[in-house]
Amino acid sequence: MLPPVPLSWYLILSAILFALGVAGFLYRKSIITVFMSIELMLNAVNLSFVAFSYEYRRIDGHIYSFFVMVVAAAEAAVGLAIILTVFKNRGTLQIDEVDSMKL
């Protein structure tokens, strides 16, 4: 049998995923992908919450990650609506071309 997994592996996985999310945010150029990177970061944080929740045997972490999910869902709804509007008004999804508040 393999040795059991220490909790810190979960945390490191979470950190890696978060870093990947950041990298996506910094290097991707499509608004939608950038938005997805944000979701990835949120997911990474959720993993930390759940891992700590396991360590302390309390479900508060679950509640937090539940709230994060709910907020992420709301954010996705509004954010995608904004993306639709941006696309309608500017005809582009390249994040670097959306650099002014006014047209």
Binding site: P6, S30, N43, R57, A77
Partner: protein, 166 residues
């Protein structure tokens, strides 16, 4: 057994995460993200968070990502174009990322040395019953606030995406 599961799904998550960054087409990225989310759901199950795992699949997998895919299809989002506008992100991003991972790894190793092992089945706290009780007692106010937030988000999305009636 749970070590194997962890390794499999952690690898899947990381690979999918990298795929998210390196794929050129948004829909590939979206699919990779779904992969990450699904493997995270499995990891949640390993950590005894069955409700959160299911919620992860329903909310992220079923709702959020469907929206993403929907929007990608609707806008027919193509592959990205190169751009040199964001010079700071372009040049400082990678060093910062390396630094970030290094710092976090150091902190996890240094500040949290004696973390216990995770064994599946040792703790099943995250049942729907427990979470429901917690939500409606200790976290009632945040819960209500969140529901109002969602209402506002619905209204905002409707207002934003509505066709202008001229």
């Amino acid at each position: 057994m749970d070590t194997v599961l962890f390794i499999i799904f952690a690898v899947v998550a990381i690979v999918c995460g990298f795929n998210l960054i390196f794929q050129k087409h948004p829909i590939s990225s979206a699919l990779s993200l779904i992969g990450v989310m699904s493997s995270l759901a499995v990891l949640y199950l390993l950590l005894g968070a069955e409700f959160i795992a299911m919620a992860q699949m329903i909310v992220y997998g079923g709702a959020v990502m469907v929206l993403f895919i929907f929007v990608i299809m609707l806008l027919n989002a193509g592959t990205e174009k190169a751009s040199s506008k964001s010079w700071f992100a372009q040049f400082a991003g990678l060093p910062l990322l390396c630094l970030f991972v290094a710092v976090l790894a150091f902190l996890i190793r240094a500040a949290l040395p004696a973390l216990p092992d995770v064994r599946f089945g040792r703790w099943f706290g995250g049942t729907a019953e427990n979470i429901g009780k917690m939500l409606f007692t200790q976290y009632l106010l945040p819960f209500e606030v969140i529901s109002i937030l969602i209402l506002i988000a619905i209204l905002g999305a409707v207002v934003l995406a509505r066709k202008e009636i001229d």
